[in-house]
Amino acid sequence: MDLKDIRAIIDLMKKNSVSEFELEKQDFKIRLKRVPNGGGSAAAAYDEPQVAAYGQPPTPIGAQPAAAAPAQLPPSPELEIKSPMIGTFYRAPSPDAAPYVDVGVEVNPDTVVCIIEAMKVMNEIKAEVKGVIAQVLVQNAKPVEFGQALFRLRPA
């Protein structure tokens, strides 16, 4: 299955108002979930320059003015959920639905904590760790990069 096939399936889903599609073969599985208009456009969601939001703040070699970064707790790397991909972060399966997780919720490695949308495909992101959500680090519908911390947890 390549990008063309995936796009064809998405078009079919749109045309027939299908919101979920799942296909599993021997060594391949794909799940597509449509978010109705208004919630899913990466281009519309991203509307301001985000110098400070991307990754580590630049080393101060004088080349870039330091952009204000939000105050953060000292990181504990083993209790953070980091983004495995690049895309747009969504807290809930759809704009009207409740977020997958919130502060205080206990998660297991298999718990879906958010969606990251890339190239019009919604990817469910699993926690991969066990713990209790202590902080949600990214706002809904904001772009995220590889390795960016999404949630901070405390031990269960």
Binding site: A42, Y46, Q50
Partner: protein, 458 residues
């Protein structure tokens, strides 16, 4: 006009592209692996996106991640630089299908020239001579021996999917041919995912001369003169110059024009657009042979820029925007002489062992006619995961003598401590009497090094 461009590369070429964008008032997005978080191109771009861990296979070669980064930053176009995905037709297609203009040739031109065996066939159609060789891929040991018998030793075994000087070995007789044939195939499979090899007559003591071409979407193709890149170590270019001292020899007066026209025929046969380079080998008799065409901006593009006054990366961007070429080949004036030295983090006294690490002190040369294209700075740590090139030192003079004198002067000023560099090696090349006379070939570096080794041992 493009408003925003994503630079899909790293190191000095990413800095080069960002500079061209800034001069055109185009905003830039840098992508970087975790190992490059402190790299200069990340600092200079308007926005930066981390796309993965250090290995290129998890970052700079990840089409999905690069295109995702392009989408969330809403860029109009993407510049692939050189290496990585620059000559990947599939990547060009994915970009275009996502409405991101790929700054380079279209994927059809890439496929026509991608496979080395295919491009030999293309050269034939364009009536351009190629070195005697196999007609396509050599599949069996029997075929290998038959081809070698027909073209005569020494024979160069090349990977069809190779590039940048990799995947090549020379055989001087049947025994080394059979051994080399099998080894080359398994190496090619591992390195390029394609075990196909083809043969060419190895042309000894040749000059490697390449022509810079530009093509627009209307089918116009021009060339901007040649670069001589014969000074190579293990098929990696070390010093390049423009124009070629060989082609300035009155004995070969007509060669430049003939080769330039051949380069244009090759590009037109491939329906080539944007910037590219047609590579030739020229033997001591003045016979020229087409080697391959590089479908990207090249490392040594600055020397062409210095002698022609044309900004090649800017032209790439303009051509990608759909601008037609407003120059003809005869409009291009080559004035003066330019030389480039590639400065690598390698120890020339320890068989050029790579020397990654932290740069303590950094002072780059300057003054009239000196250009440095580099991404490094004092305090920067060279990651071990990528190539060892620190930057390029380019000098320009009114003639070859002035360019050489400036290069020696500039090399002697260049201070980089904390790591080993090839600066002293390049200084030895610039001081060599044969180099100064302009008399050299692709065997120059080997001869220089074996002479130097003998001296060290005595």
């Amino acid at each position: 006009m493009f408003e925003k461009i994503l630079v899909a590369n790293r190191g000095e070429i990413a800095v080069r592209i960002i500079r061209a964008c800034k001069e055109l008032n185009i905003r830039t997005v840098a992508i970087y692996s975790e190992a490059d978080a402190n790299s200069m191109h990340v600092q200079l771009a308007d926005e930066a996106i981390c796309i993965g861990k250090a290995p290129a296979s998890e970052s700079y070669l990840r089409i999905d991640r690069i295109v995702s980064a392009a989408e969330i930053t809403d860029v109009d176009a993407l510049h692939p630089g050189y290496g990585f995905l620059a000559e990947n037709g599939h990547f060009a297609d994915v970009c275009e299908s996502c409405n991101i203009r790929f700054i380079g040739p279209n994927s059809r031109a890439m496929s026509a020239l991608g496979d080395k065996a295919l491009s030999r066939a293309l050269a034939k159609r364009a009536d351009v001579p190629t070195p005697p060789g196999s007609e396509g891929v050599v599949d069996t040991e029997q075929d290998a021996l038959a081809v070698a018998k027909r073209i005569g030793y020494p024979v160069m075994i090349k990977a069809v999917a190779g590039g940048g000087g990799r995947g090549m070995r020379v055989a001087h007789n049947d025994i080394s041919l059979v051994k080399g044939f099998h080894t080359a195939r398994s190496e090619a499979e591992k390195a390029f995912g394609n075990s196909g090899v083809y043969f060419e007559k190895y042309i000894e003591n040749a000059h490697h001369i390449e022509f810079q071409v530009l093509g627009d979407h209307k089918g116009n193709v021009i060339h901007l003169g040649e670069r001589d890149c014969s000074i190579q170590r293990r098929n990696q270019k070390v010093v390049e110059e423009c124009p070629s001292p060989l082609l300035n020899n009155p004995k070969f007066r007509k060669l430049r024009e003939k080769m330039g026209k051949a380069a244009i025929r090759i590009a037109k046969e491939a329906n080539y657009t944007n910037a590219g380079t047609v590579e030739f080998l020229v033997d001591s008799e003045g016979n020229y042979y087409f080697l391959e065409m590089n479908k990207r901006i090249q490392v040594e593009h600055p020397i062409t820029e210095e002698v022609t006054g044309i900004d090649l990366v800017r032209y790439q961007i303009m051509l990608a925007m759909g601008e037609p070429l407003r120059l003809s080949t005869s409009d291009v004036q080559v004035r003066g002489h330019a030389i480039e030295c590639r400065i690598n983090a390698e120890d020339p006294f320890d068989d050029f062992r790579p020397s990654p690490g932290r740069i303590e002190m950094y002072y780059q040369p300057g003054g009239r006619g000196v250009r440095v294209d580099s991404h490094i700075y004092a305090g920067y740590t060279i990651p071990p995961t990528y190539d060892s090139m620190l930057g390029k030192l380019i000098t320009y003079g009114r003639d070859r003598r002035e360019a050489m004198d400036k290069m020696s002067r500039a090399l002697s000023e260049y201070m980089i401590t904390g790591i080993k560099t090839t600066i002293s090696f390049e200084q030895a090349i610039l001081q060599d009497p044969n180099f100064r006379r302009g008399v050299y070939s692709t065997s120059f570096v080997d001869q220089l090094l074996s002479g130097a080794r003998r001296e060290l041992m005595e």
